[in-house]
C-alpha cells in the first residue's frame, strides 16, 4: 500500500512539474539571453502566454497534408510525456520504473513523427530540416546511448532510477559521471537543435533544422509541438544534471530535488550563455563537434570496463 501511495505521490509531483517547468525553463533561457545581450527581454512567463495564445488561435493546414501531419504532434507529445514519467529528471525517483532503452526509443519516436509530418506537407524546407535532423541524430543518439551504457554497465541495470541513484563515490565513479555528463551535454545540444548546431532563433528557412520541420504547423498544432520541445529540453537537461550529481555523495531526496531544480536553472543559464557567445557551426563541421561527444562517452565506457 505504501508503495502504491509513494508512486501516486511521485506521479502527482512529476505531472505537476511536467505542466509547469518546461515552459518556465524556456522563459528563463530567453530572459537570461536578453539580459546578457543588454536587452530588457520578456518576463520568464512569456512562453506560457505564447502557448495560450497559440491554443486560442485558428489553425491553417496545408491542403497537401494528410493525417500524418495532424497526428504527429499528438504522438510526439504522448511519447515525450511517457518518457518524462520514466526518467528521474527531478532528482527523485520517477513514478514509472523507466528503462534506459525504452526512454531513448520513445524520444526517437517523438522525433521521427515530426520528420514525417514535415515531409507530409511536401515542403522543401521541411524536408531539408528533416534530412539534417537525421544526420545530426546519427551522431547524437549513439553518443547519448554510449554515455548512458557506461552508467548502466557500472550500475549493472538498465533501470534509470537505479542507474541514477548515487552510491559510494570513488574517484572512478566521479570521473565516469563527469565524462558522461560532458558527452551527454554535447549530444543533447545537438539533439535539441540548439547552439552551436542550430540557432533556434534564426529567421531564414534554409538554415533551420528543427524550425524548418515545423514551418507549416500553426495554432494548436504548433502549440503542442512547441510545448513538447520544451519538455524534451527539460528532460534532457534534468537527465544531465542527474548524471552530474552521481559524482557527488548521496543526499536526501529533498536536497536532491532542490539541487535538480538548481541544476535545471544552471543548464538554462549555460544554454543562454552559449547562445549569446557562440556562432552557429558550419554544417559540415557538426560531425567534428559531435565526435568529441562520442569520444567522451567512449572514454567513460572504457573507464567502466577497466575499473568498475
Amino acid at each position: 500500500m505504501t508503495e502504491t501511495l509513494r508512486i501516486a505521490c511521485l506521479a502527482i509531483i512529476y505531472i505537476a512539474h511536467i505542466a509547469i517547468v518546461p515552459l518556465l525553463l524556456i522563459g528563463i533561457i530567453r530572459t537570461a539571453k536578453a539580459r546578457l545581450q543588454g536587452r530588457q527581454g520578456p518576463s520568464p512567463l512569456q512562453p506560457f502566454r505564447d502557448i495560450a495564445k497559440l491554443l486560442r488561435k485558428g489553425e491553417t493546414v496545408s491542403t497537401v497534408a494528410f493525417w500524418t501531419f495532424l497526428g504527429a504532434p499528438l504522438v510526439t507529445l504522448a511519447a515525450t510525456v511517457a518518457a518524462a514519467l520514466m526518467v528521474p529528471w527531478l532528482g527523485i525517483d520517477s513514478p514509472i520504473a523507466g528503462d534506459l532503452l525504452l526512454f531513448i526509443y520513445l524520444l526517437t519516436l517523438a522525433k521521427v513523427v515530426i520528420s514525417l509530418s514535415a515531409l507530409d506537407t511536401a515542403s522543401g524546407f521541411g524536408a531539408i530540416g528533416a534530412s539534417r535532423e537525421a544526420a545530426v541524430s546519427l551522431f547524437s543518439e549513439p553518443a547519448m546511448l554510449a554515455g548512458l551504457a557506461a552508467l548502466a554497465a557500472h550500475a549493472g541495470t538498465t533501470n534509470l532510477n537505479a542507474m541514477l541513484t548515487p552510491g559510494t563515490v570513488t574517484v572512478e565513479t566521479s570521473v565516469v559521471a563527469g565524462l558522461t555528463a560532458v558527452g551527454l551535454w554535447m549530444a543533447i545540444m545537438a539533439d535539441l537543435n540548439r547552439m552551436p548546431i542550430d540557432d533556434p532563433t534564426t529567421h531564414l528557412e534554409l538554415t533551420m533544422i528543427h524550425e524548418a520541420q515545423i514551418l507549416d504547423n500553426s495554432g494548436r498544432n504548433l502549440a503542442i509541438v512547441e510545448y513538447t520541445v520544451a519538455l524534451r529540453l527539460c528532460l534532457f537537461v534534468g537527465l544531465v544534471g542527474r548524471v552530474a550529481m552521481l559524482a557527488l555523495p548521496p543526499v536526501t531526496p529533498v536536497v536532491a530535488y532542490l539541487a535538480s531544480l538548481a541544476l535545471l536553472c544552471l543548464g538554462a543559464g549555460v544554454i543562454a550563455v552559449s547562445e549569446v557567445g557562440m556562432v552557429r557551426l558550419g554544417w559540415r563541421r557538426i560531425p567534428n563537434l559531435l565526435s568529441f561527444s562520442v569520444a567522451a562517452s567512449l572514454l567513460a565506457c572504457l573507464l567502466v570496463a577497466l575499473k568498475g
Binding site: S62, A78, L102, S131, S137, A153
Partner: protein, 665 residues
C-alpha cells in the same frame, strides 16, 4: 488420444503444399489460379498447427522416413523446439501472404507461365520446412537444393526482362557457391566424426574450426551475411513481391535457424572463433547493409538491404551468445538472452519485412514503378497500404510499442549484461561497442525508412503514374492488414513469446533463471500513458476544431505561389548529408553540370547527379569475377572438341586417381 495428430497434420500439409499444386500443372499456363492461394494459406495454417503440436510434445528425437534413403542413409526429420519455432515463422508468413498472391499476380499472369510459379512456390514452402527439420546431411542437402532451385525459378518468374534474368543468374551463382562450401564442410565433418547425423557431431577446439567455417560461409551466403550478401539486393527486388516477402522474410531465416542449430544450441561445432566471426561480420553487416539501404532509389532494393542489416543484428546477437556461452557460468544468462533476442528478431523481422515487401509490391502494381524519384503522394491514394507500410517501417526502426523494439531491446540487454559482468575489460568494452553499433544501425534505419515513407508515400506525386494510382484490391490489403496487426500484437505480447522461447533457450544452460525475468521494460505502462495522453489531447483538439475549423491553405512557399511536386525533396537529396558523412565507404560524389551560352550566370539546363560505388563490389568482387572469367576462358579449351585433349584429360585423371588411391593405402 489415439489419433496420431502430428503425422496426420504433416500428411495434410503434404496434401496442401505438394499434392494439390500438381493440379495447378494441369491448368493452362496463363491463368491466375483462384484455388492455389487457398492451398498456400491452409498449408500455412496447418504448419502453425504442426509447430504448436511439436511444441507441446517437444522431443528432440529424429524420425526416419521409412523407405526413403540416399546412399544408404535414410531421410530423417527432427521436430525439436527450434525447428518448431522456424516452422511457425514459415506458417505465419505463408498464411498471411496467401490472400495477396492472386491480386498481385494479376498483372504478371498474362506474360509468365503460372504453372511454373505455383509449383515452384509449393516446392519452396515445403523445402523450407524440410531444411529446418532435417536431421542429417542427406536430408538437409536435398531440401536445401530444392529450396535454392525453387527460389531461383521464382526469382526469374518475370524473365522477359533482362534485369530479372541477370538477377537470376547472380542468385543461381551465389547458391552454387554456397552449396559447394556446405558440401565440403559436411564431408569434412563426416570424415572427422564418421556420422551423417547432425546430432552426432560434437566437434570442438581446432577440429571444429575447418568444417565449421566452411559450413558457416555456406549458410551465411544464403542468410545474407556480410560480405556474402551481394546477391540479396539484386535477387530480392527482381522477384514478384509475395516471393520477395517469402525470401527476405522467411528463407534467409531458415539459414539462420540452421546456424543456430549447428553452432549455438547444443552445438555441433563449438569454438569461440565462431562467436568472434559472427559478431564481427554481423556488426559490420548491420551498419553496412543499412548504410547502403538508405542511399537506394529503388524501394525494394532498400528493403532488401535493410534485410542485410537485420540479419547482421541477428548474427551479431548469436555471436554474443556463442562468446558468452564460452565465458563461464557468469555469462550463461547473457548467452540465453542473446539467443532469445536473435530468435525473437527472426520472427519479428519475418513479419515486418514481409509486410514492407508486400507494401512495395502494392505500390509497384498501382504505379508500375518502384523508383522513389517517381513516387510520392500515395498516402491519400492508397491509404491502407500507406498505414500498414508506416507500421512496418516503425517496426524496422524498432519504435516502441511495435514488435521490432522488443527484440532489439533484448539485444541491447544481452550486451549490457555482458558489459556489467566482472570479466576481462576487453570483452566488457566490446559489449559496450555493440550497444553503440546497434544504436548507430538504428539511427541509420530511421533515416532510411523516413526517406522511404516521406519520399515514396507522402507529399505530392512526382510522376503521372503515381498521380493516377489507386488502392490495390481487397485480397492484397487483407494480407497487409493481417501482418500490420501482427506487428502491433507481437510488440505487446513480447513476454508471452519469451516464455515460448524458453524451451529452446533452456537447451543451453538449464540452470539459469528464466529469460522472462530479464524483461524488465515497463512497456505496458509507457503504452498506457501514451494512449491516455494521445486520447485526451485528441478529444480536446476535436472539440476545438469543431468550434474553430481548420483552414486549408497551401504549404509555405515564401509567397511565390503554391509549390509543385518538383520543389519537393528527392530521395537522393534527403540522404545527402548522411551519405556525405559516410562518403569514404560509398566513394560518394556529386556532380553539377550547367549548360547554356552564358552558363555561369544564366544556366539554361542544370543537371545534378550523385554517384556512389561500393568498396566491396568494385574493389573485391569485380576483380575476383573477372579473374574467374579469365580462368574460364582457358578451361573452356578442354571441351572445345579436340579429341587429343579429351584423351589427355582422361589419362591425367586416371593417373591422379591411381596415385591418390595408392597413397591413401
Amino acid at each position: 488420444m489415439t489419433i496420431p495428430v502430428l503425422p496426420t497434420l504433416i500428411g495434410l500439409l503434404g496434401l496442401f503444399w505438394l499434392i494439390l499444386p500438381l493440379t495447378a500443372c494441369a491448368q493452362t499456363p496463363r491463368v491466375n489460379s483462384k484455388q492455389y492461394p487457398v492451398f498456400v494459406g491452409v498449408g500455412g495454417l496447418i504448419l502453425i498447427a504442426v509447430a504448436s503440436f511439436a511444441w507441446l510434445g517437444a522431443s528432440t528425437a529424429a524420425h526416419a522416413i521409412p523407405g526413403l534413403a540416399l546412399g544408404g542413409v535414410p531421410f530423417s526429420l527432427r521436430l525439436d523446439p527450434l525447428a518448431a519455432w522456424a516452422l511457425a515463422i514459415i506458417g505465419i508468413v505463408s498464411a498471411a501472404v496467401s490472400p495477396y498472391i492472386r491480386g498481385y499476380m494479376d498483372h504478371l499472369s498474362p506474360r509468365v507461365d503460372m504453372r511454373v510459379f505455383w509449383v515452384s512456390l509449393s516446392l519452396l514452402l515445403t523445402s523450407m520446412a524440410a531444411v529446418v527439420t532435417a536431421a542429417n546431411v542427406q536430408t538437409f542437402l536435398i531440401a536445401w537444393e530444392t529450396m535454392s532451385l525453387a527460389s531461383f525459378l521464382l526469382v526469374i518468374t518475370d524473365r522477359g526482362s533482362s534485369k530479372v534474368r541477370e538477377a537470376g543468374l547472380i542468385y543461381l551463382g551465389a547458391t552454387r557457391v554456397g552449396t559447394a562450401f556446405l558440401a565440403t564442410g559436411f564431408l569434412w565433418a563426416h570424415s572427422l566424426t564418421g556420422s551423417w547425423t547432425f546430432a552426432d557431431w560434437h566437434l570442438s577446439g581446432t577440429a571444429a574450426l575447418g568444417p565449421g567455417l566452411l559450413i558457416l560461409v555456406g549458410l551465411g551466403l544464403k542468410a545474407g551475411m556480410w560480405p556474402f550478401h551481394l546477391w540479396l539486393p539484386i535477387a530480392h527486388p527482381a522477384a514478384p513481391a509475395p516471393v520477395s516477402a517469402l525470401m527476405s522474410g522467411v528463407m534467409v531465416k531458415m539459414a539462420v535457424a540452421v546456424i543456430i542449430r549447428l553452432f549455438v544450441v547444443d552445438p555441433s561445432f563449438s569454438n569461440v572463433a565462431f562467436g568472434v566471426v559472427l559478431l564481427a561480420l554481423g556488426s559490420v553487416g548491420a551498419v553496412w547493409g543499412i548504410l547502403f539501404a538508405l542511399i537506394q532509389q529503388d524501394l525494394k532494393r532498400l528493403l532488401a538491404l535493410s534485410t542485410v542489416e537485420n540479419i547482421g543484428l541477428i548474427l551479431a546477437s548469436l555471436g554474443v551468445c556463442i562468446l558468452a556461452s564460452h565465458g563461464g557460468s557468469a555469462l550463461g544468462w547473457a548467452a540465453q538472452i542473446a539467443l532469445a533476442a536473435a530468435l525473437l528478431h527472426m520472427l519479428n523481422h519475418a513479419i515486418f519485412k514481409s509486410l514492407l515487401f508486400l507494401g512495395a509490391g502494392s505500390v509497384d502494381s498501382a504505379t508500375h514503378t518502384l523508383d522513389l524519384g517517381h513516387l510520392g503522394g500515395l498516402a491519400a491514394k492508397m491509404p491502407q497500404t500507406y498505414a500498414t507500410f508506416l507500421i512496418g517501417a516503425g517496426c524496422a526502426c524498432a519504435l516502441p510499442p511495435l514488435s521490432g523494439f522488443s527484440s532489439e531491446w533484448l539485444m541491447y540487454k544481452a550486451a549490457l549484461i555482458v558489459s556489467s559482468t566482472q570479466i576481462e575489460p576487453l570483452w566488457r568494452f566490446t559489449a559496450m561497442l555493440i550497444v553503440i553499433m546497434i544504436s548507430l544501425a538504428g539511427a541509420l534505419a530511421v533515416t532510411a525508412f523516413v526517406k522511404a515513407i516521406g519520399v515514396g508515400f507522402q507529399g505530392l506525386s512526382r510522376s503521372a503514374s503515381a498521380d493516377h494510382a489507386h488502392e490495390v484490391g481487397r485480397g492484397m490489403t487483407t494480407s497487409q492488414t493481417i501482418l500490420a496487426a501482427l506487428c502491433v500484437l507481437l510488440g505487446l505480447s513480447a513476454p508471452a513469446l519469451l516464455v515460448t522461447i524458453q524451451l529452446i533457450v533452456h537447451q543451453m544452460t538449464p540452470a539459469s533463471p528464466p529469460i522472462i525475468s530479464a524483461w524488465t521494460v515497463s512497456l505496458p505502462a509507457a503504452f498506457v500513458v501514451m494512449a491516455f495522453t494521445f486520447a485526451a489531447v485528441a478529444v480536446w483538439l476535436k472539440s476545438a476544431r469543431r468550434r474553430d475549423p481548420i483552414k486549408p491553405y497551401s504549404t509555405w512557399d515564401c509567397g511565390f505561389g503554391p509549390v509543385g511536386p518538383r520543389a519537393q525533396v528527392a530521395g537522393v537529396s534527403y540522404v545527402q548529408p548522411v551519405a556525405r558523412m559516410f562518403g569514404v565507404i560509398f566513394r560518394y560524389g556529386q556532380t553539377l553540370d550547367l549548360e547554356g551560352v552564358d552558363k555561369r550566370l544564366f544556366p539554361e539546363e542544370i543537371t545534378a547527379s550523385v554517384n556512389y560505388e561500393s568498396l566491396l563490389e568494385d574493389r573485391i568482387y569485380a576483380p575476383l569475377i573477372r579473374w574467374i572469367w579469365r580462368i574460364g576462358d582457358h578451361v573452356v579449351a578442354l571441351q572445345e572438341g579436340s579429341i587429343h585433349r579429351y584423351l589427355l584429360t582422361m589419362l591425367l585423371a586416371l593417373a591422379i586417381l591411381v596415385a591418390v588411391g595408392g597413397y591413401s593405402r
